[in-house]
Symmetry: C3
Subunit: 461 residues, 3 copies
């Protein structure tokens, strides 16, 4: 059973202060401005979630990768028949997750969503499986009902620019009050040498109703889509780049590259220039239409070719690489870094960026904000390192609160709870060291839980 003071420092003074701060934010609504939950879940009011394995194991690459690393194959884990056997295998190996965020999230979800307080291991596996199945079958265990129970105030999904956003439309039209908004993700349009790029461009032509024959019409089509996304509540865009490079080239040069790409003749250098130029262009559009821009970088996707060939993406083999922002972002910041209406939120998996590059940049440029610790660093220690290395230089108010960034709907409360506990514990450490007073700590705790995210992502309504 989860202890109510879990995570907090064992020092009695700090624990008391942390519990006090945590109690003031524990039940605040959840702001989820960046994530990957399927909006389709919320369309039919009575949709069911699937079996325990489909809900808790198979969509969670954090869970899968750890089992794979110890020799359990994806063939076994992704099988469709006999979910109880897979659950048993998982329970047999649940010791692998000791002290990991995946283990803690799962335990939290079992207890808070399913009411299970027994420890998961080989002996309890069957009982727990039965209990999860029973809860999943309960009449009020629908995504919409859970959304309300979880106190989600707003949930942003991530959607390709070519999406019709039919689920978002259907949710709005259904009259249900849950706020679920799309996020504009144009990545499929930015990599000229991806095998399906030309097809993506044709699709963009179709959905935008703008015939894309050159760079200018391509940009017009993107602008049309941004406008459409905004009409369904979107406030932000998201871009993922392996390297956060930015360049300023002329429209003529951009068009020359684009024309080569349309003819299937783009070079690797064209692709590099084009994506760097498109980051700039996305910033320009944000300056004009007010959408918040998010930039995620520094991941080598699908590192394992055998796994990718057999099972596709998001199987736990995306690996972080070294990063650099000071030179890479300079062209963009030269042009838009001081713009009062522009917000660019940066994310990194290279923690050496925190104190060296990102905190000094965000603590100076009006347009920059730092996203929360991302992915592998969305953990107790990852958050602690982030607070340690970012806050003194960037200042809390140049950060944006938390993103759960999850594909697993049921894990949302667990993830926000870790962030709120980590925030409370960090602020308590400042308070008991007399670096801030209690009044400041309380205000900061509220900002970290809710305020910063609402303001940074323009979600105040």
């Amino acid at each position: 059973m989860l202890s109510s003071d879990r995570f907090f420092s064992p020092n009695p003074q700090q624990k008391t202060a942390a519990l006090d701060l945590y109690s003031s934010i524990q039940d605040l609504p959840i702001i989820s401005p960046h994530g990957h939950v399927d909006p389709g879940l919320f369309v039919p009011p009575t949709i069911r979630l699937g079996n325990p394995i489909e809900v808790l194991i198979q969509p969670d690459h954090y869970i899968l990768r750890m089992l794979v690393s110890q020799g359990i194959t994806l063939d076994t884990l992704l099988a469709k028949d006999n979910p109880r056997a897979i659950w048993k295998l998982f329970a047999d190996h649940f010791y692998l997750y000791r002290g990991t965020p995946s283990g803690l999230w799962l335990t939290h979800t079992l207890e808070n969503i399913f009411g299970i307080t027994e420890k998961l291991d080989s002996s309890s596996a069957d009982r727990i499986f039965d209990r999860i199945e029973a809860v999943l079958a309960e009449p009020d265990f629908t995504p919409r009902a859970l959304f309300q129970r979880m106190k989600i105030e707003v949930l942003a999904t991530t959607d390709p620019v070519t999406s019709s956003l039919e689920h978002h439309k259907a949710i709005r039209q259904s009259g249900w009050s849950g706020r679920i908004i799309p996020t504009f993700r144009a990545d499929d349009m930015l990599n000229l040498v991806a095998t399906n790029w030309q097809e993506n461009i044709r699709l963009l032509s179709t959905v935008s109703g703008i015939e894309i024959i050159d760079f200018r019409s391509f940009i017009a089509a993107l602008e049309q889509r941004r406008s459409y996304f905004r009409s369904l509540g979107a406030t932000a865009t998201d871009t993922s780049m392996m390297v956060p490079e930015t360049i300023m080239i002329s429209p003529q040069e951009a068009n020359a590259i684009f024309q080569r790409a349309l003819k299937g003749k783009a070079t690797m250098e064209d692709a590099r220039c084009f994506s760097a130029q498109m980051v700039m262009e996305m910033a320009r559009m944000s300056v004009e239409d007010g959408m918040v821009m998010q930039l995620h970088s520094g991941v080598l996707r699908n590192h394992n070719p055998e796994v990718f060939a057999r099972f596709g993406s998001d199987m736990g083999f995306d690996i972080p690489i070294g990063s650099e922002f000071v030179n890479n972002l300079k062209p963009l910041l030269d042009r838009f870094g001081n713009h009062p209406k522009f917000t660019l939120i940066l994310f990194t998996l290279d923690e050496t960026m925190y104190s060296r590059e990102l905190a000094p940049l965000a603590g100076a440029y009006p347009a920059l904000r730092l996203g929360p610790p991302w992915w592998f660093h969305d953990s107790w220690n990852g958050m602690t390192r982030y607070f340690d290395q970012v806050m003194e230089t960037a200042g809390l108010y140049n950060t944006v609160g938390f993103n759960d960034d999850t594909r697993s709907f049921l894990s949302i409360p667990a993830r926000h709870d870790v962030w709120r506990r980590a925030s409370a514990n960090w602020l308590a450490s400042l308070e008991v060291r007399r670096l801030i007073d209690h009044h400041d700590a309380e205000q900061m705790a509220y900002e970290m839980a809710v305020g910063l995210a609402k303001r940074a992502y323009h979600l105040e309504q």
Copy 2:
């Protein structure tokens, strides 16, 4: 009001040990071997310091950058009229500095220099402004009197090689006992492709009385200036390089580059070679004349072109970049690293260098010492990371104590106090974990506060 046990661990044993160690060093004189205070402040015995904004806000790029990052313009902040309105704006936004070193330094300065214990916010802004103004107008509130009150034993300034050091001379001739010494900074002479390099060389010719016609006379002029700086008490030089590269080239090659530069025909490659060679040459001169050599590297200066064009340097937009020492310094260490009379003190903003490169190098080469955590890392957490990542491998005795490195005279005590508290807390953590005994902890605390700096910078008199 500041708590006397601020910063220290909330663990009672560690706090007691930290307070005990801190009490033994709290009132020791301040050794300030590296900083940027204007020596002119100390020449006329009755000079005044200016209005509150001129004293506390406008010269402090740490303060300015945070306000700028939240959309307050430098136009507003640097205005000359209505200091009270700027102070009010600052107070309205003082929450931005919660948990930052800038906020803690300012609070310390308000309390210890101005006797203000009220918290700064919108409601107290006017009262505090009045109080600062009143104190600044007090007859004994002169830089010389403050220098004594602050118990500064020695203050090193940073001075261009072409400086006549008139203020230093005037201070000496005035008979005042305060020890203020120059530091030799030749950076203006080292970048061949800077627009004003030729002018700098002409100025060097003039002040040295040596006609600079080739590399040899250039070096002779520098040596003449070093000798002059030493005659006014200088014990150290300082060099800042974006990359800490060093090379060994022949005098003929050096001269060929120098001649091209004199004709305005130096290439970027010439500039790179020349500065790398000049780091070597500065080391050679230090070996000969005994001046301690400091090398700061890894900053991209004036990252924001708009701010630089309108407001110049030192406005908060100097951003750290990645660094490398093991290969870059090898030519220099090959030649001088084992020299018993040579001291090279290294500074970095790239904290990944601490455990990987700098601590192993400083823990082996007789000539090397590590400077304290610098600039963005001159903070509670920055110091803690430094102790954690440097001390086990380099050993305390290969470090050099503290540099306040400040442009803001009144902030000197606040900065040394953070260092002394951080030192005491770190040593207390070793003591309560039984890694050192109390006797050792006390000796180490003294070394960190005073001893190491005095010896490393040859300030023992």
Copy 3:
């Protein structure tokens, strides 16, 4: 005198939990799967260890480098006459080791091996020297007796592939029960441009009985040696590379390079390709013969040319450099990363690799495991950083316990004791924060002390 609760958190709850966990592992046998102790020590049952300086100072480059860094010359320290004077000099400077692992290991060794509880300094130097000398002269103070007293269950040495392993054979033939096994180290064969490479190849021909005339026979000879090493108990290989690069080239290409090398005409590029290809080949052989593969990288050896020329290798001037694994290892992982029978254990001195590259890789690939914190990071803080940055993402069960990696036989217990204390303290911090329960903590403590190393290195017998 050493405190029994040294190292542990001063927080009473955490300390109690740490002591409890430590008491459960403190006296477990020592598994030493990677180190550099001379197997010759164990051949004659009554061999003596030498004088105090030969035993404790001269073979320990950690000790030497710190003294050198403060101006004491290797000439003085490595002198053969007057060990008492060197010991006195060491004692006079023992303050330099305050808070360093070297200081703590030495203090532990003096107390636990020699029964010395007095603090080492100038005044106690002579008494302690006498005591060490007396103990070294005791009849039962032999390496074999110490091996048993230290409870070493298995000790792996590191041996060149051309070694006849005569000491290992002699130990086996002597009937003594101590388990001492060789480790296969082929580094001398991998660097084509090393001056003695051709000689090494000839030596390999001789010892293997296989005439090496091409790449194929070279590989055959290596395979013969691997088989021979295994026959004497070896379970692992070790490879050290400055850069952990791997490539896949054809046997024809490999042979062409090899032929150029045999003729003394290999280029630097040949050497780079060859070593990258040989890492791949070593992996291929491990897949086939089941030996565990260790890869150490990221050190610039013999950084100080003057010291190297006069005193040779291992004098404290090997310095870490930046690293990269995600791209460098990709060819090898593409081929063998999912192999169920392959184990590749990675070591780094670049701590930025922990959270960014190594933990994500090891938490996904079945073949990968992470070695413990290495060399400069084999310290209290180094271990703490490793636990912090590795465990959440890699999971404990993708690590391999501890390596003492020492050349100094008597320091083995001290090093394992630091690891066991650090492990207990880390697990206690998880326990008191309720992230794991006591049952899990106890199992994890056992794994860290013994279990993981035994399984990863195939030492279960």
